[in-house]
C-alpha cells in the first residue's frame, strides 16, 4: 500500500479537472506525482512545463513551479529553464500532437542533445481539445473529424522515434497500467539525460465515441488487451505485434548529458556558469 499523500502537490482550488469523464490524463498526472513523491523531490525545486493541448492543461493543477507555454514549444522552454538552472528538476508534459506534429523537431533534437529533462508524452492518438482531428499517432483505419471514412496514414511510433533520435531513457506505459507507469516515470526522473515516457491515454469523448467504443471502460479494456510487456514482445513476430502496445522500459543507456557537457566546456575555458 502506497501511503504517499499526493494532495500536497495539487492546486485543489482549480478542481474539478477540465478533462472529460474517463480521460486518462488525470491518471497519468497522478502516476507522475506518486513518482515525484517516491524520489523525494521538493516541489520548489521541480518545474513542470507544458505546451498546448488537453495534456498541457496539467501544470495548472500541480503545485510546483509551472509553465504553460506555446504549441509544440514545451521542450524549448524547458531547455531554457534547465540551461539557466541545471539544479532544477524539469518535467515536460506534452501530447502526441504537441510533441510529434508542430513540436516534432524540438522533440527529436532534445533526444539527440540528450538534455536532462523528463518528457511525459500523453498519447491519446487524437487532437482532443480542438475536436478530434487526426494526429500523427492516429492508428490507420480509425475515424477522426478529419478522417470520416478512416485514417489512411501510418502512425508514428513515438517511443521508436525517441530511441532512434538518441534519448537515453525510453519507456511506454498506459493509463490502465497506472502502477507500472508510475515506476517507469520514476526511473525516467532519476535518469541523467533525456527521458521519454510515452503514456497511452484513452480519449473517450472525441476518439472513443467516433470509433465505436461507447464507454471509457471499453477503452481501458482495449488498452489492457493490447498491452504486451517488452520481454514477451521480443518473442513475437511483427504481424503478431500489429495493433499491440509494447510496454516497459525500451531503452536505458548512459551517454553524455548536455548541461554537464556544457558546464565542462565552460570550466575548460576558465569561465564560470
Amino acid at each position: 500500500m502506497d501511503n504517499f499523500d499526493y494532495t500536497t502537490f495539487l492546486r485543489e482550488k482549480k478542481f474539478p479537472l477540465i478533462w472529460c469523464a474517463g480521460c486518462g490524463h488525470g491518471i497519468i498526472m497522478k502516476a507522475i506525482l506518486r513518482a515525484v513523491g517516491r524520489v523525494g523531490w521538493d516541489q520548489n525545486d521541480t518545474v513542470m512545463v507544458s505546451g498546448i493541448g488537453c495534456s498541457s492543461r496539467m501544470p495548472g493543477y500541480v503545485d510546483m513551479n509551472t509553465l504553460h507555454t506555446t504549441h509544440g514549444r514545451a521542450i524549448p522552454f524547458a531547455t531554457g529553464v534547465k540551461m539557466a538552472n541545471p539544479d532544477l528538476h524539469v518535467i515536460v508534459i506534452t501530447g502526441d500532437g504537441d510533441a510529434t506534429a508542430i513540436g516534432g523537431n524540438h522533440f527529436i533534437h532534445a533526444a539527440r542533445r540528450n538534455i536532462d529533462l523528463t518528457v511525459v508524452l500523453l498519447n491519446n492518438t487524437i487532437y482532443g481539445m480542438t475536436g478530434g482531428q487526426v494526429s500523427p499517432t492516429t492508428p490507420r483505419g480509425k475515424k477522426a473529424s478529419t478522417a470520416s471514412f478512416g485514417n489512411v496514414e501510418a502512425p508514428f511510433n513515438i517511443s521508436g522515434l525517441a530511441q532512434a533520435a538518441g534519448a537515453s531513457f525510453v519507456a511506454r506505459g498506459t493509463a490502465y497500467g497506472a502502477v507500472q507507469l508510475s515506476k517507469y516515470i520514476e526511473k525516467g526522473l532519476l535518469k541523467k539525460g533525456l527521458s521519454v515516457i510515452e503514456a497511452m491515454s484513452p480519449c473517450p469523448t472525441v476518439f472513443g465515441r467516433r470509433n465505436k467504443m461507447k464507454s471509457p471502460v471499453e477503452m481501458y479494456d482495449e488498452l489492457r488487451d493490447q498491452s504486451v510487456p517488452v520481454k514477451k514482445a521480443a518473442t513475437m513476430s511483427e504481424v503478431e505485434l500489429e495493433d499491440k502496445i509494447v510496454t516497459g522500459v525500451l531503452t536505458d543507456v548512459d551517454k553524455p548529458e548536455y548541461t554537464a557537457e556544457y558546464a565542462k566546456l565552460i570550466a575548460k575555458l576558465g569561465g564560470s556558469a
Binding site: 478542481f15 474539478p16 474517463g22 497522478k30 508510475s182 471509457p216 471502460v217
Partner: protein, 68 residues
C-alpha cells in the same frame, strides 16, 4: 468474509462527489466489487471486502477517491 485482519482498523474509503464524473473505472476494475454507481456517482456498497489495494485511487482520473 471481511478482508480486514483482526488487529487492523477497517479501511476508510472517501469519495468526493463534487469531483467524481461517474466514469465507472473504479467500479469496473475493483477486484473485490466494493463500489457501485448511484445517481452517476461512485459509492461504497461493500466495504467489508476492501483489501486496501488502492487500484481505485491509482486509476481515478479525477482524484475523487482515496483509501486509507
Amino acid at each position: 468474509m471481511s478482508k480486514t485482519k483482526d488487529n487492523e482498523a477497517p479501511p476508510v474509503i472517501e469519495i468526493n462527489a463534487e469531483w467524481c464524473k461517474g466514469c465507472s473505472i473504479c467500479i469496473e476494475y475493483c477486484p473485490q466489487d466494493v463500489l457501485a454507481l448511484e445517481n452517476g456517482i461512485a459509492v461504497v456498497v461493500n466495504l467489508d471486502d476492501c483489501n486496501r489495494c488502492q487500484l481505485c485511487d491509482y486509476r481515478c482520473p479525477d482524484y475523487a477517491i482515496t483509501v486509507k
